[in-house]
Point group: C2
Chain length 414, copies 2
């Protein structure tokens, strides 16, 4: 199998070239990739079924199988995703600023690709296609390291994508897959600081922690969302109910789903019965704080661990808070800086919440479920950053770029 250093070196070399490819050329390659996905659907499904058989033998859980399994419809969706990326504006070469200095120097700030992006992810073949397309359109070489459970699917998909590169005469090494699925190889991959400019882990908390702890390459942390909804005493209660139900039950397994409901004590006794009943009817398990437990003894008591937990499931923890101060303190303590919402008709509370909550996205009177590249109008996303460095919140094409200063002079010296 090819050595990681060889993979890294090739990516770096190609990365330097991709920066200067035209938008037309990149888009054309993406279109060929989309076509090839459809044309090679049988081949891809065949390879995917090898992974599926193995996963069944290993008695993987249902959610794992669901994420792994491909069918014609899902391949069609991947191809459509590629065509969506074609439509997005090319972020490279944009003139972000141009200043003339008193000494006559003209300083231009231009967007450039990051260079080589490493993606480490779980057994989700769709990430193989999405991530490749976004990195490529932003002029980056990409090195993929997907979960071992999807290795056959990933090999097939990358092979098909490379055919798209070939039609445009773009070196194959713009998209590379690490085929060695041993864990120690992944850890070694995280040390290739000389060749890789940024590493983006996509997956659960333990994957992200492994990457942060082992990587020498700069990392962008994504995706862990312990999101809250705070309903204050001035809230439009009908609106609050709709938002809470939506944020919890619309798609509980995603990172922008709500995990905890905070409610102002003044309205808790009258409003909670309505709201909690409705949540229960939607199949949601309630875990309450001491005060909730006193009002409704039938619910389980939430533990300290509950407040920290991203359930990703039909479970919600509920806490009665004295006021907005207690709500803000709770969220800044237990939240993961992803998405937080307040439902209120009080302008001052809305302003305080938006200023004092430390999160990528803060919502006033809307569901946390909107934290998403498509919903933000970016067209696509490679993940939701929960750190403050480089990019925060949904990361689209622009967030996969860096910049460079080009300075034009006529002999200036200091």
């Amino acid at each position: 199998m090819e050595s990681l250093i060889s993979i890294g070196r090739k990516a770096k070399l190609v990365g330097n070239k991709l920066a200067n490819y035209s938008t037309v050329k990149k888009n054309s390659a993406l279109k060929y990739m989309a076509e090839n996905l459809i044309n090679e659907a049988e081949f891809i499904l065949g390879e995917n079924s090898v992974d599926i058989v193995k996963a069944r033998k290993e008695e993987k859980e249902k959610a794992f199988l669901d994420r792994l399994m491909l069918d014609k419809k899902r391949i069609q969706k991947m191809a459509e995703g590629l065509l969506e990326v074609v439509k997005l504006p090319d972020p490279i070469g944009e003139l972000e600023a141009r200043i003339k200095r008193p000494n006559g120097l003209i300083i231009e700030k231009r967007t450039v690709p990051l260079g080589v992006i490493g993606i480490i992810y779980e057994a989700r073949p769709n990430v193989t296609v999405d991530a490749s397309a976004l990195c490529f359109k932003a002029g980056n070489a990409v090195i993929l390291r997907g979960g071992s459970g999807a290795i056959n699917s990933n090999k097939a998909l990358v092979k098909v994508l490379k055919q798209g590169l070939k039609k445009e005469g773009i070196p194959f090494e713009a998209i590379q897959l690490i085929e060695d699925t041993e864990k120690k190889t992944a850890v070694e991959f995280m040390k290739l600081r000389e060749y890789i400019n940024v590493l983006i882990p996509r997956g659960g908390e333990s994957l992200i922690n492994t990457v942060v702890e082992n990587s020498l390459i700069p990392v962008i942390e994504t995706g862990v969302g312990n999101c809250h909804i705070f309903v204050d005493e001035t809230a439009d209660l009908e609106m609050a109910k709709k938002i809470v139900i939506n944020a919890k039950t619309n798609r509980p397994a995603v990172c922008n789903a709500a995990e905890t409901l905070l409610i102002a004590e003044r309205i808790a006794p009258t409003y909670l019965p309505v709201l909690l009943t409705e949540l229960e009817e939607s199949g949601v398990e309630i875990r309450g704080c001491n005060r909730v437990k006193k009002l409704f003894p039938k619910y389980k008591l939430a533990t300290e661990e509950d407040w920290f937990t991203e359930y990703l499931d039909y479970i919600i923890s509920v806490k009665i808070v004295k006021n907005i101060d207690e709500a803000i303190t709770h969220i800044n303590k237990y939240g993961t800086k992803h998405s937080e919402a307040i439902v209120t008709e009080n302008q001052q509370n809305a302003r305080r919440f938006s200023q004092e909550i430390d999160a990528a996205a803060v919502y006033i009177n809307a569901s946390t479920r909107f934290t998403d590249g498509f919903e933000f109008g970016m067209g696509a996303e490679i993940g939701i950053s929960t750190q403050k460095l480089h990019a925060r919140g949904p990361m689209g094409l622009k967030e996969l770029t860096s910049y460079k200063y080009v300075i034009h002079g006529n002999g200036q010296i200091r």
Copy 2:
């Protein structure tokens, strides 16, 4: 001595508050700090002399002593630096974008502080003041970890700066110094991912590597500059000479000084004698490639290591290259992505150089010495980033910020 976790926790708490302080309040504190520096000059110099005596006893080299030593003039300069930061626009709370989505959501993107910034640096007391001022103005809490050789100076300076905070009723913990100077404490500091949002090492290559290798906190690499000047065959030779001499000799110990001269083979035999003689007359040692050595046997032969070396001294390595392709390949191989210059009258070469060189700052017909926050019109800088993530090149106040999305709705759900 206070535990690191206690320092981190306090910084995080105060960091959340600083984000919402008014510009007036922050500027007023900075002005008090400047006043206090002048008023307490005797105290600071007394503490500094303790460090100086120790350094002399340990027979530290001249450059070390020069960076460590304070006098009234240097303290005056520190105070002036603080007043410069007062004048800079406040980067916090700026509305970077505002979009209305078809569903009626209004998405605002606003600048916010990074939160808590850790600075790890060598025995340079001026960094204590500069870094504190910039981090503070951008609404960040700062934790300083300076070189052990300057610990008494740093303690004195931080004490004086804190008096400025006190006059405005700002918690002391906005600026904290780690007083424990053991190396293992610094390494432990780099693990405080829960409390610190970004770590900025300022110093030489070995310091930066130690931080990159040990840190769990996102790092911004700064300051290593193996900068090149390429003189092509169309260059205005008088201009080229001025630029090369300036970039090499104006201040050889700084990161934007030139370390290698590349020269097109067509002009080398006639032009090099003039240029190298002038460099020698400026006290610069020449180390040449094989071809230079053949033309001028008196010079030392440059080794492979030379091409990688940031001399920071009156030494230059000189290589004759065939053409711009060889120049670009050399720079992208040996450079540190800091500052690179071409001297040329050929527009196409200028464009290729600016596109294909992978560096924070690419100069056409100007000295590399301009890569600097002041020279770029940022007013001040905390360092020169040589990575592509988050910030590249000189980092001013804006580069010490992140952003947050604030989304206003009226009950939107998905």
